[in-house]
C-alpha cells in the first residue's frame, strides 16, 4: 500500500469538528471577483516567524509578489520535493496572475494566507480566533473567492 493511502486511511477515521450547517457565500461573477489563496502548507517568508510544531494556530499574510517562500508544515508524510520544484503545485500564485491577465478572474488579491495544517482535533482556536482574523484581513482587501490548498 502506498504511503499516501496509509495516510488517507489514518485520516479517514480521525475525529473531526462537527458543523450542523453549511455556510454559503454567493460570490460575484468570477470575471469580477478578487481571488486569494489560503493554504495550510505553513508557507512563510524567510523574514517572517516560523511556524512552531503541532498546534500552532497562527497564520502568515503573504504579499502577492512574494515567491521565495519556505514550506513550514513540518510533516514528513507528504511529497515535499514537488514544492521545491514548483511552488505553484501548492501555492498557484502564478496561475492566478495568468487568469487575471486573460480576464478569467477579476483580480489577484493583494495578500494571501498561510496556516500550518497540523492542528489539534478540535481546531477551536482556528475556528474562533485566528481563522476569523485572517478572514477579516482578506475581506478588508476586497477578497470574494478563496481557493484552499492543503498539503
Amino acid at each position: 500500500m502506498s504511503s499516501d493511502q496509509v495516510m488517507r486511511d489514518m485520516m479517514a477515521n480521525l475525529p473531526v469538528p462537527e458543523f450542523e450547517s453549511t455556510p454559503w457565500a454567493s460570490p460575484p461573477p468570477l470575471s469580477e471577483a478578487t481571488v486569494a489563496i489560503v493554504t495550510s502548507a505553513g508557507l512563510h517568508r524567510a523574514d517572517q516567524e516560523r511556524f512552531e510544531g503541532r498546534g500552532d494556530t497562527s497564520y502568515r499574510m503573504l504579499d502577492r509578489g512574494d515567491r521565495e517562500l519556505i514550506l513550514g508544515h513540518w510533516s514528513s508524510n507528504f511529497d515535499r520535493a514537488a514544492y521545491v520544484s514548483d511552488h505553484n503545485v501548492v501555492y498557484p500564485i502564478d496561475r492566478l496572475e495568468e487568469l487575471a491577465v486573460d480576464g478569467t478572474i477579476g483580480a489577484v488579491a493583494p495578500r494571501h494566507v498561510a496556516f500550518a495544517g497540523n492542528q489539534p482535533d478540535t481546531v477551536s482556536e482556528v475556528r474562533l480566533d485566528t481563522g476569523p482574523a485572517a478572514a477579516a484581513e482578506l475581506r478588508a482587501d476586497g477578497v470574494d473567492v478563496a481557493i484552499l490548498t492543503p498539503v
Partner: protein, 227 residues
C-alpha cells in the same frame, strides 16, 4: 482546511477546497469541495505543468456556479505516486576517516549550493542549516550506534526538525543533480531512504530511539509512515 472553509464563508468569502482527504471533507459539511486524488503535498497535482494546474483551478472555479451546497466533485484525473527511487548519482567515498553519511553529505554540498542559488531559498534551516548537516548526521550516527539520546541531545529532543533538515538538504541537492522535469511524488523520498547513507543512518537512529522509548510522537514523525 475544511474548518477554514466554514470560517471564510461565514465572513462572506466563497471557498473551494482542493481536498486530498475525501472522507474528511464529506464529514465536515464543507460548502464546495473538489476532491483531487493526487499524492499528498501536491494539491495542484503536477509541478512545472501549468496546463494541468489550470485544469484543476478551472474545475475548482466551476463549483462557484452551483446554486446551493454542499457540493463535492471528484476531479477526473488521478495522479499516482511513483515509488521507484529518483535516478541520482551519489558522490564517491572521499574521506575514509569519517562516517560514510558525513562524507556523502559533504560531497553533495556543491550541488546543494547550486540549488539554493538557483531557487533563491531553501527548506533547510528549521533546526540546523547546511553547515550543520554533517554534525547533525554525526549525532544520528551516535544514536544509531547505541548511545542514549539524552547523552547526545540533552533533555530536548528535536529530531523531527533535524531529520527534516537533513532530508531537505539531500533532496534539494538531488533535484539539482538529476535535472530534467520534476520527479514523480515519493521518488526523491525513495532515493533518500533507500539509496543514501544518510537515509540509512536516519532510519537506524529512529529505530534506536524507538528502542530507547523516546517519545513516540517524535519517532513517528521523524520519517514517513511505512519507512
Amino acid at each position: 482546511m475544511c474548518v477554514l472553509a466554514h470560517v471564510l464563508e461565514d465572513a462572506g468569502i466563497a471557498t473551494v477546497v482542493l481536498a486530498s482527504m475525501r472522507p474528511v471533507a464529506e464529514r465536515m459539511s464543507v460548502p464546495r469541495v473538489l476532491y483531487c486524488e493526487f499524492p499528498l503535498g501536491r494539491p495542484l497535482g503536477m509541478p512545472d505543468n501549468a496546463q494541468f494546474q489550470h485544469g484543476v483551478l478551472g474545475a475548482a472555479f466551476d463549483l462557484l456556479n452551483a446554486p446551493s451546497g454542499p457540493v463535492l466533485v471528484d476531479y477526473p484525473e488521478v495522479v499516482e505516486a511513483v515509488e521507484t527511487p529518483l535516478a541520482c548519482a551519489l558522490p564517491p567515498r572521499y574521506d575514509p576517516d569519517i562516517a560514510p553519511s558525513i562524507d556523502e553529505a559533504q560531497g553533495l554540498r556543491a550541488a546543494y549550493d547550486r540549488a539554493v542559488a538557483r531557487r533563491g531559498t531553501t527548506e533547510v534551516g528549521r533546526a540546523v542549516d547546511a553547515d550543520g548537516v554533517a554534525a547533525a548526521l554525526g549525532d544520528f550516527e551516535r544514536v544509531a550506534a547505541g548511545e542514549h539520546w539524552k547523552e547526545v541531545y540533552g533533555p530536548r529532543l528535536d529530531t523531527i526538525a533535524i531529520a527534516h533538515d537533513i532530508r531537505a538538504y539531500y533532496q534539494e541537492a538531488a533535484l539539482e543533480l538529476a535535472g530534467g522535469p520534476p520527479p514523480g511524488a515519493r521518488q526523491a523520498e525513495a532515493w533518500f531512504y533507500e539509496e543514501t547513507e544518510a537515509g540509512k543512518t536516519l532510519a537506524a537512529a529512529r529505530d534506536a530511539l524507538t528502542e530507547q522509548e523516546a517519545p513516540s510522537g517524535i519517532t513517528f514523525y521523524m520519517q514517513p509512515v511505512g519507512r
